[in-house]
C-alpha cells in the first residue's frame, strides 16, 4: 500500500522498477538504487528479480513434470499424472493441429513456452504488494539495504527483457529451421524472390524482411504489452485503497473484477505465444512457392 511517505507516482514508479544488478558509474558492481542508476548501467546488467522469478518458476515447472515423468505409467493414471497428462494432451493437440512437419523439438518447446509463460503471468494474480514487501523485508533485514532501493517486479513477463529473450530464442529456431529445411539459397530466395518476382528484389526483401523481423518483435511486445498494462491496472487499483473508504471499496470490486478478467488474459497470452511459435516454426518448415 502507498504509505504517507510515498506519493502515488512514487508508488507506481517503485513498482515498475526492476531490481538491477550491474556496474555503477564509479566502476563498482552492485544493485542500482534508483531508475537513473539502473539506466546508467547500460547493457551489461541483470534484472535480478525477473531472472530469479523466471528461473524459480521454470525450475518448479520442470521439477513437477519431471517428478511425474519419472513414475509415469500406462495404466490408470492418478493425481498429478492425471493433471500432467491433461496438460500435455492439450498441448500435443495444439501442436498437431498447427504443425504439419515432423520435429521432436516443437512439442516440448510449445509445452515449455505455454506453461512457463502461464506461470510468469500467473504471478500477476498475487496481491500486488505481497512479494515486494517480502523482498523489502528480506532486503532490509538480511542485506541491510535501503528500503526504498529494494525494487521487486514479481511478474517476469512485464519485463521486456524476458519476453524478448524468449522471442529471440524462438526467432533463432525460426532462422535455424528455415535454413536447415530450405538451404541457405532457399531461405535467401524466399526473402528476395517473392512476392513480386526477381526483378523487384529490393522491394521483395523489404517486405519479407519486415515480415521476418516482425515475428519476434510482435511475439515479445504482445506479451509484454498485455502483461504490463494488466500490471499497471492492478497498481492503479491498489492506489485507490489509500484514497478513503468509498474509493477503497470501489477498488476492491474493481480488483476482483480485473483479477477474474485477468485469468483469461494470462492464459490467452501464454496460449497465443505458444500457438504463434508453432505456426512460425511450421512456416519455417514449409516451402512456400
Amino acid at each position: 500500500m502507498a504509505t504517507e511517505t510515498l506519493t502515488s507516482s512514487d508508488y507506481i514508479r517503485h513498482h515498475l522498477q526492476n531490481l538491477t544488478f550491474g556496474q555503477h558509474q564509479d566502476g563498482s558492481w552492485g544493485l542500482a538504487h534508483d531508475a537513473a542508476e539502473a539506466a546508467d548501467m547500460g547493457f551489461w546488467a541483470i534484472n535480478v528479480d525477473s531472472m530469479g522469478m523466471t528461473l524459480l518458476l521454470g525450475g518448479l515447472l520442470m521439477w513437477f513434470f519431471r517428478s511425474v515423468a519419472k513414475k509415469v505409467e500406462a495404466g490408470v493414471p492418478s493425481g498429478a499424472q492425471n493433471f500432467a497428462e491433461w496438460v500435455i494432451d492439450f498441448i500435443n493437440d495444439s501442436v498437431r493441429g498447427s504443425f504439419s512437419g515432423r520435429n521432436a523439438l516443437v512439442a516440448p518447446l510449445a509445452f515449455t513456452i505455454f506453461l512457463w509463460i502461464f506461470l510468469m503471468n500467473l504471478m500477476d494474480l498475487l496481491p500486488i504488494d505481497l512479494v515486494p514487501e517480502i523482498a523489502k523485508f528480506i532486503g532490509t533485514h538480511v542485506f541491510g539495504m535501503d528500503p526504498h532501493a529494494v525494487f521487486f517486479k514479481v511478474v517476469p513477463s512485464t519485463d521486456p527483457n524476458i519476453t524478448f529473450g524468449m522471442a529471440f530464442g524462438v526467432f533463432a529456431l525460426i532462422l535455424f529451421y528455415s535454413i536447415k529445411m530450405k538451404g541457405m539459397g532457399g531461405f535467401i530466395g524466399e526473402l528476395t524472390l517473392q512476392p513480386f518476382g526477381k526483378w523487384a528484389m529490393p522491394a521483395n526483401f523489404l517486405l519479407e524482411g519486415v515480415n521476418l523481423i516482425s515475428k519476434p518483435i510482435s511475439l515479445a511486445l504482445r506479451l509484454f504489452g498485455n502483461m504490463y498494462a494488466g500490471e499497471m491496472i492492478f497498481i492503479l487499483i491498489a492506489i485507490m485503497f489509500s484514497a478513503g473508504a468509498v474509493m477503497a471499496s470501489l477498488g476492491a470490486v474493481l480488483q476482483v473484477g480485473w483479477a477474474i478478467f485477468h485469468i483469461l488474459i494470462i492464459t490467452l497470452q501464454a496460449f497465443i505465444f505458444m500457438t504463434l511459435t508453432i505456426v512460425y516454426l511450421d512456416m519455417a518448415h514449409q516451402e512456400h512457392h
Partner: protein, 156 residues
C-alpha cells in the same frame, strides 16, 4: 525497464528448460500416453471381436435349435406313420386270424356234420336192416336182403 543482459540470461534459461523438457519430461509422458492409447485400442478391438464371435455363436445356436426342431418333427411324423402302420397291420392280422378261426370252425363243423352223416348213414342202414329184419324175418334170406339194403344206403 531497460533492455540489458537479462535478455541473454533468459535466452540461455529458455534453451536449457526446453532441452530439459525435450529430454526428460516429454518423451516418457508421451510414451505412456501412446502406450495407453494402444492398450485401449487393443481392448476395444478385442471387445469387438468378442461381440462378433458371440453373434456367430448365437447364429450357430439358432441353427442347431432349428435343426433339432426339424429332426424332432420328422421323428414325430415317422412315429405317427409307424403307429398307423402298426394299427393297420394289427387290423389285417386280426382279420386274417378271424378268417382263419372262422374257416377252421367251418371245417370242423363240416367234419362234424360229415361224421354225423356217416354215423347216421351207418345207423340208418342198420335200423332199416333191423326194421326190415323184424318185418321180414320169417321168410326172407337175411344175406340177400342185406346186400340190397347196403346198395340202397350207398345211394342215400
Amino acid at each position: 525497464m531497460n533492455l540489458n543482459a537479462t535478455i541473454i540470461g533468459q535466452m540461455i534459461a529458455f534453451a536449457l528448460f526446453v532441452a530439459f523438457c525435450m529430454k526428460y519430461v516429454w518423451p516418457p509422458i508421451m510414451a505412456a500416453l501412446e502406450e495407453r492409447t494402444k492398450k485401449i485400442a487393443d481392448g476395444l478391438a478385442a471387445a469387438e471381436r468378442g461381440k462378433h464371435e458371440q453373434e456367430l455363436a448365437e447364429k450357430r445356436a439358432q441353427q442347431v435349435i432349428h435343426e433339432a426342431k426339424d429332426q424332432a418333427n420328422e421323428i414325430i411324423s415317422q412315429a405317427n406313420r409307424r403307429g398307423n402302420e402298426i394299427v393297420d397291420e394289427s387290423k389285417d392280422n386280426a382279420r386274417v386270424e378271424g378268417e382263419r378261426i372262422l374257416n377252421s370252425a367251418k371245417a370242423e363243423i363240416e367234419q362234424e356234420a360229415n361224421r354225423a352223416k356217416d354215423e347216421l348213414r351207418s345207423q340208418v342202414g342198420s335200423v332199416a336192416m333191423a326194421g326190415a329184419a323184424k318185418v321180414l324175418s320169417r321168410e326172407i334170406d337175411d344175406k340177400a336182403h342185406t346186400d340190397l339194403l347196403e346198395e340202397l344206403v350207398s345211394q342215400i
